[in-house]
Symmetry: C2
Subunit: 348 residues, 2 copies
Amino acid sequence: MIEDKNQQSTQLSDLGEFALIEHLTKNFKIKHKSTIKGIGDDAAVLEVKNNKIVVTTDLLVEGVHFDLSYMPLKHLGYKAVIVNLSDVFAMNAMATQITVSIAVSNRFPLEALEDLYAGIDTAANIYNVDVIGGDTTSSTKGLLISVTAIGEVENNDEVYRNGAKPNDLLVVSGDLGAAYMGLQVLEREKEVYKVNPNNQPDLEPYSYIIERQLKPEARKDIVKLLSDMNLKPSSMIDISDGLSSEIIHICKQSKVGCDLYEEKIPLDPQVISTCEEFNIDSTTVALNGGEDYELLFTISQEDYPKIKANPNFSIIGHIKEESAGIHLITRAETKIPIKAQGWKNFNA
Amino acid sequence: MIEDKNQQSTQLSDLGEFALIEHLTKNFKIKHKSTIKGIGDDAAVLEVKNNKIVVTTDLLVEGVHFDLSYMPLKHLGYKAVIVNLSDVFAMNAMATQITVSIAVSNRFPLEALEDLYAGIDTAANIYNVDVIGGDTTSSTKGLLISVTAIGEVENNDEVYRNGAKPNDLLVVSGDLGAAYMGLQVLEREKEVYKVNPNNQPDLEPYSYIIERQLKPEARKDIVKLLSDMNLKPSSMIDISDGLSSEIIHICKQSKVGCDLYEEKIPLDPQVISTCEEFNIDSTTVALNGGEDYELLFTISQEDYPKIKANPNFSIIGHIKEESAGIHLITRAETKIPIKAQGWKNFNA
C-alpha cells in the first residue's frame, strides 16, 4: 500500500488519516468470538454472553511517562498495552479487546508508527487481545498514547479493591522495585551519552531491571493460576504507582489497617546490588518506585495452604482493623506509618 | 475538599492525581443498572445481558481540534462527549457509558478542569450515560481529551457502514455545513479581536451556526425515532468529516455507487447567508465542512413512505451499482465525481 522508495522517512502528511489507520492495523487479527466487528466502522461491536465486562483506560505522554531517547517505539507500544492489561488482570478478569489512540507530531515518520504498532501487535498476540478500534491524530508536540482495555470475568469472580478483611494475608506476585531501578540506570546512561556519545555502556549487569522498565509484563499468568488453585482473593490491585500507594488504596477502600513486613518484600538480587551502587534504600524503592505491574492481593487465612509454597507469591503483610492504621514493620522491628507519596507528575 | 481561598487559581500541582480525579468526578452519578462499578477501582465493571455492546474512541487535541481562545472549556467537555456518542448512535445503538482521560499542562488551574468536567457531566446527564473511568495526567503542552464511549444495541439491530444496496435511498438528518461556517465566523472574530480587543462583535446573526460549532448535539433522537418507526437503515454513519467523506465510506464498504443531488442537500438559511457573506460555495461547505454530527443512512425504497413527510430527514441521493461510481448531480444537472478531501490535520 505504501510505495515510497525511501522507506526510512515517509511523512505522515503524505497519507490521509484513513490510509494511515488502515496501513498500521492491516495485519491485526481478530481472535475472540466476542469481537463481532473490530476496526472499520463508527464503533466496534462486541457480544458478551453471561460474563461481566471490565473497562479501563490509561494515557501515556511523551516527556511525562516515557522518554524516547532510551525507550524504543516498539517497546513503548508493547508497554502501553501492558499497563492497561495489568488493570484488567487486577480485576481477576481476562483481557479480550483494546482500543489504541495516538496523537503524534509531524516529526515522526510513518516507519516510527509502524514500530509502535508492531509493539502493540506483539502484546496483543502474546496476551490474546483484539485491537478493535482507535483514533490517530496529529499533535502539536510529541507523542501521546491512549489505550482502553476491555476484559471479561465470570459473574461474581471479579475482585475489587474494597474486599480486604482483618486477619487476611497481604500477598504480592513477583518482585518489586526493578522497573524503577532500571529507569535509574537508563537515566544515568543517557547523561553519560550526552557527555560522550561514543561510550559503549555495559548494561549486562542490569539486564533484568532494564527489561522490567522497557518491556514489563502483566500478570495474566497469576489470574490463571489463582483460578486453577480455586483461590479468589478478597481484594486485588495492580502495582503501578508503588507498593505503598496500592496498600493505601486497598486499606482505605476496604476500611482496614495493615502491617507490612519489610523483611518479606521480594527483591531481585539485581535490584539489591543496583540500589547499593546508587546508594538508594531498596525498601524505599520497592515502596515508592512503581511500574512493577505485579498483583497485590489479600486472601483469607484459610487459603494460606494454597499459596504458602508457591514461588510466584510472597506473603508480605497482615490486614488489621482500620483503627490499627497502616504501618511498615522494619527489620529492626520499628513501626513506621506508610504514607502516600502522592503523584508527582504535576510537579513539573 | 479544596479549601484554597483563591478559588480562581488552584494549581494542579497542589493536588495529587487521586485527589484530582476524586474532586472532578465526585458529583457524577451512576444511572445505568449495567454499570456495576464506575470510577474508583482498577477497572469499571459492566453487566450487559442479551444486548450487543458497541465501543468507540476519539481524541481531541488542543491546537488541532479546538482553539481555547473561542471554545469555552465547559463547551469543550460537552463536545468531547458528543463526538463519541455520535459514533455510538451511528451504530443504531444507545450510549450507556463513557470513560474520559485528559492530559493537561500546568498552565490550567483546577478551576479550568472543573469547567471542563462540568461540560462532561452536563452531556452525560442529558444523554443519560455513566462516566465510569478515565485517567488524568500532565502534558508537556496543551490539553488533550480522550473519550471512549460504550453503548448497547439489541441483537441484530446494529447498523454497519457496509449494508447499502443498489436502489436504496440516501437519507440525512438535520442540516449540513453549519458547524464549519460557525468556525469561519469564530476564526474571523478572533482575528478582529487581535487587532481591536475592545471590539464587541454582534454574533446574533450567526447564533445557530456558532452553536453548531461550539455546542453540537448527537442525534440520539434519530435513533429513537427510527426505532419507533420500526425502520432499520441498511447502512449508517455519522457525519464528522464531511458528507462527501462519509458517502465514500458507505459506498466503498457496501461496494455500491451513489448519485447525490445537490438541490436536496439540507442547508439552514444562516449557512446560506453566511456562505454568501464569506463568498464560499455552500455545497462545498456541506460536502467537506464536517463536524455536523448528523446521521447519514440508507434505507430500502419500501421504507420510503415511513420517512417521506418527516421534517427530520432529507432524502439526498440514490444508491447505485458500484460500477456507476459516486457522483454529485449538480443543480445544473452536470455529474461530478465525489472525491475524498482526505484529512488535513497532518498537513501542518
